[in-house]
Assembly symmetry: C2
Amino acid sequence: MINQTMYQRGAESSVIREIFTYACERKEQIGAQNVFDFSLGNPSVPAPAAVRDSIEHSLAQLTSEQLHGYTPAPGLPATRAAVAASLNRRFGTTYAAKDVFMTVGAAASVSCSLHALVNPGEEVIVIAPFFPEYRVWIENAGAVCREVLADQETFQIDVAAVRDAITPNTAAVIIDSPNNPTGAVYTRENLEALAMVLSQANGAREQPIFLISDEPYREVVYGAEVPWVPSIYEHTVVCYSYSKSLSLPGERVGWILVPNTMPLADQIMPAVAGAARCLGFVCAPALFQRVVTDCVDEPADVEAYARNRETLTRALTEYGYTYVEPDGAFYLWVRALEDDAEAFCERARTFELLPVPSNSFGVPGWIRIGYCVSHETIERSLPAWKALADTYK
Amino acid sequence: MINQTMYQRGAESSVIREIFTYACERKEQIGAQNVFDFSLGNPSVPAPAAVRDSIEHSLAQLTSEQLHGYTPAPGLPATRAAVAASLNRRFGTTYAAKDVFMTVGAAASVSCSLHALVNPGEEVIVIAPFFPEYRVWIENAGAVCREVLADQETFQIDVAAVRDAITPNTAAVIIDSPNNPTGAVYTRENLEALAMVLSQANGAREQPIFLISDEPYREVVYGAEVPWVPSIYEHTVVCYSYSKSLSLPGERVGWILVPNTMPLADQIMPAVAGAARCLGFVCAPALFQRVVTDCVDEPADVEAYARNRETLTRALTEYGYTYVEPDGAFYLWVRALEDDAEAFCERARTFELLPVPSNSFGVPGWIRIGYCVSHETIERSLPAWKALADTYK
């Protein structure tokens, strides 16, 4: 028969995208303003004006072949150079264009990195709660997803638990900070402790444990420092996307950085290219590679998210909810008002509130509220959040 | 160590892309007009004006979120509907939007189709000479690439040879017509004979053999009929891309059609979605999905390719080359003037001629000339082709 693994992955679909689809249908039924869709990380903040300027400039200046032709598989040289230069300015590094591989967004970045770094049968550690697609991509690479619970007070990495989870079969650890779904930003101390544990484990091994630092939310941060991970642990590959920082999630453009300071960089970059080739990626979308070249230093507009965060957390506190104070990203990780997060979300749905239950993130009893919606949606949803809490009193 | 399969795939790279890279470097050295790069299928014909109009219209009319936000994983409903309606107008079919899955180009289409339809250990038949990446994607799906030589006179499918190659393990056959690299267009009789052989084999099997019809060159044809394959064999999935017809290869947009006439469509479409998810595709680039909606019936401009074909074939005939008369695509399949096609291409390179040797297409002794270049490049290259032939006299 057809491939049942793929059938299952398609039939189960992503819980997040299922709620998103329900929200679209429900909006048709009762009006968009009456449905509070907190499911997807679809930024409500518009792309900066520089994005439109870049597209218009390219359309005016370039031939069709320059604009829309194949780019080299790793990306346009100018784009790769612009990304490297931007990182160097910000982190005091000395990366070159050749260290950057342009991808079809963060999903492609993580999927290709896993295929490049991990062999079938090996284990990859994720910090729970974690972005549910990590498991899908890890298992598609033939590897085993090993969940390690974050510190349940701070939602920092529980480094001792990571140490206990490492086996001779551990190939890699995936982290994302600012974190989806908790909004936690891993501190320098936390990352240094992780690096120490990994380095100690490496001493007894032929190959190092790789760290995959997935950073689509790097720029979405409310004052906290987001340390540059490769400067803390040398065996780090960085995955990035412009979905959040430039509000371009549908355009699918991001990159993988294989730092030239990484001992195995000369082997890893070809493996990344090989993975992209094998999976069916040919190049990142050409027009938006040029947008990246032009907009690489555009500041992310986080003010709108900061305002949403402020309004939402103040109100939820008043209504009796508890949550993790988010330092970054645009998700609020809220304790469900009953043990069963899915039942809680079912009840929330009767108030037209659509958060995501925590089960698919690998832990029970929480919900994720994506507050990357309009401020008006936040404000209009508040009575519903209050009424929902009241049903538990 | 890191994944050696991926490393090899990256280190070996695609021969075609390697020549393309050499061409770029060589152009820097001696001037673009002095290098005759026939390697890549990068259309020299500009995208139709309607593409630019569509982009400008979207930029003017839509909000950033509508423009650049995530689309549903299978694509924008309007885009899927437009594709289905276009097919229905042209082929008298009754497809619906739900039968179309928008992809990140033809490579993604074929890769996802293979993952959806084929199980590890099964066999997939390709018709040699064949597009070299088929083997890469087949093997990445854990399957075995089984080469069947095309009829060496006509380069139609050798149906008897396909019949002999079918085993109980055969899961699928990939065809592409108009063919890359030979330019052959499979006749209706040829496809009907193939359908007969597959149907006969299906009688003794629990599951049908699937046909994957990869059709990026459907519109690039010089008068020949390109039959609609699902009307000839019901277990056919169609893969398409706008790389060639709209000259948008760098933008990565195409689709998979799972026809509603296909007996297992209800299982295959979720499997396609699951494969896209597992491999790390989130959605096709949003802005170019809208371009497809607007430009779905834009005629491909094949006149320039027809003129190139005419000039090139007339001259090569005069110089003593023999080749397959191409009915479609923009490749000329020419017999090398010595048995070793790679040695022949090495010698061609001394005349700044850069065709692709046939070895990576699964057969020895031929070269592929991509004549999707400018007419001027064709004309300027003719003395070099003559001089090259003269060295063999």
